[in-house]
Point group: D2
Chain length 367, copies 4
């Protein structure tokens, strides 16, 4: 199992390399009858498309998706949905130099250890272009979840040392700045910070935050397939993620039980609510009906043009400058990838849950 499939019920398999023919995804298990067209998916892909600001690689790609199966008369048929995005701009660069050494912070060395050799052109399968398959499939999952009233809000929480401020949080601002930050002031500061990074031939890390609304209580499987565990795996499988949190995350480790426990109460309509949401919407691995809040820490882009020490395959210690078209920061384009992975996880666990509830089996088949 080389790990290119995700999910059990809403299952996707992705394929493709940065400088091969293209990248794609096959979804197996999407329920029949969902209205779906290429534009639904393209809208998601456009959010991760390169070349949209000076903080993104200038590689020009339309990233136009083609649906190749599983749709009939505008609706899903319940059979596999194959989607492909063919590469346009596989620069016929000379990769012989990059083939000869291991870039620091990249997977060059570990791929060679595992497989004995690698497709070194542009990172091959470990390139960020691999995430196109995730986003295309995630768009379908999100469309499915929308039919059950579930929505997503994803944005950049911090870039390097610059963090958004809760007081200035403005969801409408997210689409207005190139860094997808919900705080205009922080976005301005972060742009300055990034300009300095670029001048110094350096790069920056950052944090993506995602809020999921409308998830019914009861989603997630106890023990190993907890909702938070599956979200952790889903998000951590995105290249460059080094940390993951639900709700208060690491702050919870510094808190006391009296501070951290969320009190339940019935509101005036008799609906069970929580006074706070330190738990981030998940108790015992199962959704509690509150908003789900998750956070992912991305390391700085490892491709930098400053001089770095490394080794080549001839057994020599050398210094290199990594050439190529690189993002000085990945998080603005990564926000939609985090959202896609969250959508895929939820779709999978909601389909899993349908068989778990008392009486549902008989009810469903006897109706």
């Amino acid at each position: 199992m080389s790990g290119s499939s995700f999910g059990t019920h809403f299952k996707i398999t992705t394929w493709g390399e940065s400088h091969g023919m293209g990248v794609g995804a096959v979804i197996d298990g999407c329920p029949a009858g969902l209205a779906l067209c290429e534009a639904d998916i393209q809208a998601y892909l456009n959010r991760r498309k390169p070349g949209q600001s000076k903080f993104s690689t200038p590689r020009k790609e339309d990233d136009a998706v083609q649906i190749q199966s599983g749709i009939f008369e505008g609706r899903t048929t319940g059979t596999p949905i194959s989607m492909a995005v063919y590469n346009k701009n596989q620069r016929s660069a000379d990769y012989s130099e990059i083939a000869s050494y291991y870039r620091p912070g990249h997977a060059d060395y570990t791929f060679d250890c595992k497989y004995g050799f690698r497709d070194y052109r542009g990172g091959g399968r470990s390139s960020a272009r691999e995430t196109i398959g995730r986003v295309a499939a995630g768009a379908v999952a999100a469309k499915l979840l929308e039919t059950a009233g579930i929505g997503f809000l994803s944005y950049v929480r911090s870039i390097g040392p610059v963090e958004i401020s809760p007081e200035h949080f403005d969801a409408d601002e997210i689409g207005r700045n190139p860094l997808y930050m919900p705080d205009a002031k922080a976005a301005a500061k972060a742009q300055e910070y990034l300009q300095d990074c670029m001048k110094a031939q350096n790069s920056s890390g950052g944090i993506v935050e995602c809020i999921i609304t409308g998830v019914p209580a009861g989603i997630g499987e106890p023990v190993f397939d907890k909702l938070d565990a599956q979200l952790a795996k889903a998000v951590f499988s995105i290249g460059a993620v080094k940390g993951f949190e639900i709700g208060d995350g690491f702050d919870a480790a510094r808190a006391t039980g009296q501070e951290n426990n969320d009190a339940f109460y019935y509101n005036e309509n008799g609906v069970l609510c929580k006074k706070t949401n330190h738990a981030g919407g998940i108790l015992g691995g199962i959704s509690d009906g509150s908003d789900i809040l998750l956070r992912a820490a991305f390391k700085p882009t490892p491709s930098i043009s400053a001089v770095q020490e490394t080794v080549n395959k001839n057994g020599e210690n050398i210094t290199v400058r990594v050439k190529g078209r690189h993002d000085p920061v990945i998080v603005p384009r990564a926000a939609v990838v985090v959202e896609a992975m969250a959508a895929l996880t939820l779709a999978d666990l909601m389909l899993a849950d349908m068989g778990a509830r008392a009486g549902s089996f008989a009810d469903f088949y006897r109706r």
Copy 2:
């Protein structure tokens, strides 16, 4: 799928409730020929056994493991290894009160949402006793990994606001204090902090850290089943975990590429090494041969005897004091659970890796 299985190649399935007959685990896929006896497993279980200090629940349990299958003449046969720990001390308490309301911070409410009803005695399947199955199975995985030269060092990094200091790090100290901290001073301070918590009918969170040594480069499957993603899921599936990090974790999000990239070099013996280990031993989801470093944030024990607001099933807002035998902090006993989950993850991915490498298939079968 109710999620009580973990792993694909080294696969475990756990069962059991806090106040039922017992808890257990079945391992399927352990290679044949491994020397294994109950004492190997008991040593791990003893590290999580309750009642060993004043900072642990006084519930008295031997937690004696019984191997029920899969061993012949002291070695594994390659067939399923069934292990059980029968409960001794299922206090015949009156649980009718606890059945009537939802404890804040617990899974009572979400289990009811999902299943329609729940085994409310002591938390049922969402009790910390569920981790016995993980630890028993993890002990077997660790024994298998030991044959390939892999070792684990797990300890408590912080309790509430009290963190160990890198300068005072002393691995030998871990077993000497009841909090499993590798820093005697920090351990003393943390004990004071916990005493105060207990007086205030309160509880504390904390952080567990685990270092894995001897992992060969090349372990982990690219894309969705990255080694870090699988570790994230494994550790996040432990109840009360709210955050997870590899290497520098969230600090990497605040760093630059020049700071965060680990330079490669060949040492005097021509062995490829890294000057630093910000990556925590994993690049592109695959082990790089360095130590693997992971960290898990645990929320404070939600069971506290202070008065809390909550709701009952009659639709009323009420206040409660949660009675029972509870740990004021879970992390000292959780360290071995984190280690067990890490061992299970590695065993699974190493078995997966055996078929991935160039030539391995033909080599194996043409021998």
Copy 3:
């Protein structure tokens, strides 16, 4: 993965050996709220219990099942159901002889090839006692299916050359003769045949047939997880099965399309029906609402006391007589095992199907 798990949604894992402590099964994924007690399971186990006629091994075992988890107040909780049957009669025989050679028709040699050594006492994991776990779990699946109106009729269709006759088919007769044949005359003839076999220190094969009633149309997943493909795997995984058929089976290969196609029609109530059922209730891998008809061919019991040629581990060609307590024919006790595997397959695919239908996802969560 050593293959001791079956199913994805209604998933079971079995463990145990013939002469070890016992055998058992863990069910994960049984919906919550199903009324279930040990007597439900015992009724199934009693149908495969040894020692009930002269055509069955005289090994004395109560095969009393113990439910160890997953039930609360008489109903399933949705969490794993662990069941165990402890061995009573592990005769302290001397197995050193059997350890030294490979019994013809048994798995002794192949287990040694695979694992390097084996638990040779009574066949270890490849003993027929392994099927206890299947039957215990199948009893739970059957109870679940019963809530949706699904029933099973399983019986022996032939023993050696003696086959039941369609004209004399009498379902009530099945429980009246020790061979579970629905035809008194054939049963009498088969008993004579078996007496002759036993005198000649020989054994006999036979065929089990199973009719499943009440399955709604639409169950089974297209392509690889067709209902018939999953049934084939399920039944072929029972030791000694060498052939499997659905509907007309091999006879269909000799028929023409005009003979084999089942004509559809609407009956007087407007219900869609089929004039014939050559297809055995499955079209394109999906149930069509007719009875499902399957058939399994079992080879003769390989353990016979007549002299046989074989080899020992010292590299010598030898002759042996296999001692021990053996069934001259396995099919009467195997009928319930076939039924159990069919029930497990259906439960799994029905849970899988719940998410597949148009609109069901949104309907289910919006209701």
Copy 4:
């Protein structure tokens, strides 16, 4: 899970419909370093290509395969191999008639029951074109198995009542007649029989046989994932299969133990052999080193142009003639599909087996 994936370690996912854009397969888990090009796959696809004789549909398709990922410099990289075959000849026929009724013997009705609607053009996903993905992936599995010395011989054993005769068996004859029968006389008779069928607007069933040589002893997982059980599922998942046998199959049910047991002996070179092979190369679900022999019964092509009774969606009983381009018999083209499924099964179980053996784990990682 809608069941379009097969295998755990050598895992494939197929997609596509008869009259959509095309069909394809993604392989995940193929070991790195295998020499592979499109011609390797095309050779297999050509064996199932339509229009090669008068006994095959005249639909004209090149079935030219395109590899879209996973190969670098002529070798597999260990990452997903995506392959596509685009449809050329999606006749712009008027399908409105076929949309209105259910063809007898087809999956039209069951797809509608399951999904609520279907892609009715040419059978959609239940068309025989779906097998292109299986054959393309099976070609890769076969190439991998070849590196371990494993080969396949697949042919048509019978068509309707015409069966090959063991005395006239001639493997070289298989490629010489359009029916892929290893017996020239039987092939001639079968052609006459088919001519008569075609005149009568009728169709015929048949049996495919496959011999697998060179499989090492020890492949297959005990209990549920036995080699024969996995082969049964693999082959039964091919549309139109109604029966499956290993070795003597149903004949074993009529035999005695003395007849059926295969005696072991050491040959003059001290190699363990069997005097006969009634078992078909599998004992206890694990390969024994002999040839593996399997057989699949295919029902007659359900599409016939003779008048048939059926129903339409308006609730009316009607008669129809199924138009279109149909094979009067499917087995000649199905032989390579059976072989492909057998190759996929073996590749998957051999990768699973690599981690099962005593000492293999430590040996592999301590090298």
